[in-house]
């Protein structure tokens, strides 16, 4: 895994590269055909994903610094998500969306995450579109890589 400065450097490089590609597409029909994806691009995409997984992992395990960085308060009781869900076990992202009995409503994984933050953790609900939510979702789904989709299952 890359460290933060390297990652930022790659991001900067990718921004430049992205601008070049965008410019090429806009500027001329001769350049209109898209190029096949390159190993370098794939690596970049994967690293962008894993960076969110890393952040989500830290949030999930109650890391105070990451919570502060992303401006969230996921717990006030000392509890962290991982205390009931080691390795994101029993989070069942593959079963969402579904009727969630504990909430008595049809719910997405993000609804469930917020429910856990509010109820057992007694923390503050987070914006479903926030980076913290996306990072938690990234970590939970990545942890369950290989699980079979069973949407709706109790």
């Amino acid at each position: 895994m890359i460290n933060t400065p390297t990652f930022l450097c790659i991001l900067r490089r990718s921004t430049v590269a992205g601008a070049v590609v965008a410019a090429a597409v806009v500027l001329g029909p001769a350049s209109a055909n898209k190029d096949p994806v390159t190993p370098k691009q794939l690596k970049l995409y994967q690293e962008a994903f894993m960076e969110e997984v890393r952040k989500g992992d830290l949030l999930f395990h109650g890391d105070a610094a990451m919570a502060e960085q992303l401006g969230v308060k996921l717990s006030t009781t000392g509890w962290a998500c991982a205390m009931c869900h080691p390795m994101a076990s029993d989070t069942h992202p593959q079963a969402f969306p579904k009727f969630q009995a504990s909430m008595a409503k049809f719910a997405t994984l993000r609804d469930m995450i917020n429910w856990c933050i509010e109820k057992p953790n007694q923390g503050e609900k987070i914006d479903p579109e926030s980076e913290a939510m996306k990072a938690l979702e990234a970590y939970i789904t990545w942890s369950n890589t290989g699980s079979v989709l069973v949407p709706g299952k109790y």
Partner: protein, 381 residues
């Protein structure tokens, strides 16, 4: 990971369960236990299996005693300071009141470790204060959460020697310390005591490694302790971690289970009662029966693999009810050679699963270890 676990598990069964080796055959096998055991041969699917499990909240083990008696078990209270978390405090208070109200009273209480969450002096002292209301004799063994802030200093001051033995009405009881012999993961990384504790307090952490073990010195002590004990007389061993291999990534084992088995092999009536797993577990390993106990704090999900086939799983807890999936236990040692472990799960009439959907593993999952604790902050500049 699975291949490695499979390899370890195959080895465990080869070492511990050669043909014909089982807990003593002269022990009474109750109908309930028999039904558990038949699952081994039925190879039934979950759906078929659940249909003929009996609706009883006890697990039966068996051995001999001079007179009937009962004792109680509380563990895994994971107390934070009272100002941070009152729910865990409330649950200890409830367990203590219920044990105190047992009629006839329990002969003694075993506290099975993880009194504190982060090993703080305030947390351990809070535990002592709460348990003070319980007037019966109390015996303590440590959990990893009690230990790794100050390496057992405060725990030792409060409770003394972490391993001990006593005889009671024809049964030899042994308390083991399975937590204090973790590998040194902190010195090279220059961790503070809080950082060391933080890694230890994370069940799915990857830094503290295979910390659960009995250790050569303590094995020798156990062997010496048992040397004068008749091979056919009952022994009950308390440990924080299970004395077999269930799921090493969460330290649901002791790493030296082979050596433990070597010491216990000659004895035919051994029962191990353990905490740490926060869930109902039952297993038979060689000549030893093993029983996992509930926490008062919160339930862990069953591990993704390695759940003993003899375990009748506990019911899937409601995360909205913090009294669900947790509780304490009574252990009744009867004159007719039986020991009943009764799970007191608050708010539940049925402790065990009643249908496949009651099981937390009814949704199949493939999960993997976390990554961030091995990168951050240790490998960052």
């Amino acid at each position: 990971m699975s291949e490695e676990l499979d390899r370890i598990r195959r080895e465990m069964h080869a070492v511990l369960q050669p043909p014909g080796v089982r807990p003593d055959d002269s022990l009474q096998i109750t109908r309930r236990t028999f039904i558990h055991r038949s699952l081994l041969f039925g190879a039934a699917s979950v759906g078929q299996t659940f249909a003929w499990w009996p609706l009883l909240n006890t697990i039966d083990v068996a051995h001999a005693a001079e007179a009937p008696f009962k004792f109680a078990w509380i563990s895994d209270t994971h107390l934070y300071e009272r100002s941070l978390n009152t729910r865990f405090v409330d649950k200890v208070v409830r367990a203590v009141q219920e044990v105190q109200a047992m009629d006839p009273p329990a002969d003694f209480l075993i506290f099975g470790g993880d009194l504190a969450q982060l090993g703080k002096i305030e947390e351990l002292e809070l535990g002592v204060e709460l348990l003070k209301d319980l007037k019966i004799k109390k015996y303590y063994i440590p959990g990893e959460h009690d230990w790794y802030l100050d390496m057992g200093k405060k725990w030792g001051e409060l409770f003394g020697q972490p391993n001990w033995t006593f005889d009671h009405k024809g049964v030899r009881f042994i308390g083991l310390d399975t937590v204090s012999r973790g590998p040194d993961y902190w010195t090279a990384k220059k961790m503070t005591p809080e950082e060391r504790m933080g890694h230890m307090a994370t069940l799915d952490g990857t830094v503290a490694g295979a910390w659960a073990g009995v250790g050569r010195e303590q094995l020798d002590w156990m062997q010496k302790t048992l040397a004068d004990w008749d091979k056919s007389k009952p022994i009950v061993i308390f440990s924080h971690n299970p004395l077999y291999e269930y799921y090493p990534p969460w330290n649901f084992w002791v790493r030296d289970w082979r050596e433990v088995n070597d010491v216990l092999k000659p004895y035919t009536k051994v029962t191990n009662i353990h905490g740490h797993v926060h869930q109902v577990l039952y297993n038979e390993i060689g000549s030893m029966r093993s029983i996992g106990m509930l926490a008062t704090s919160w339930p862990w999900p069953y591990a993704p693999e390695g759940v003993p086939k003899l375990t009748k799983p506990m019911i899937r807890a409601d995360p909205g009810d913090h009294y669900d999936g947790v509780g304490w236990e009574t252990v009744n040692v009867n004159a007719d050679d039986k020991v009943d472990v009764e799970y007191i799960m608050w708010g539940r009439k049925e402790v065990f699963v009643q249908s496949p959907e009651d099981h937390d593993k009814s949704i199949g999952e493939v999960i993997r270890p976390r990554i961030a604790d091995n990168q951050y902050p240790w490998e960052n500049p």
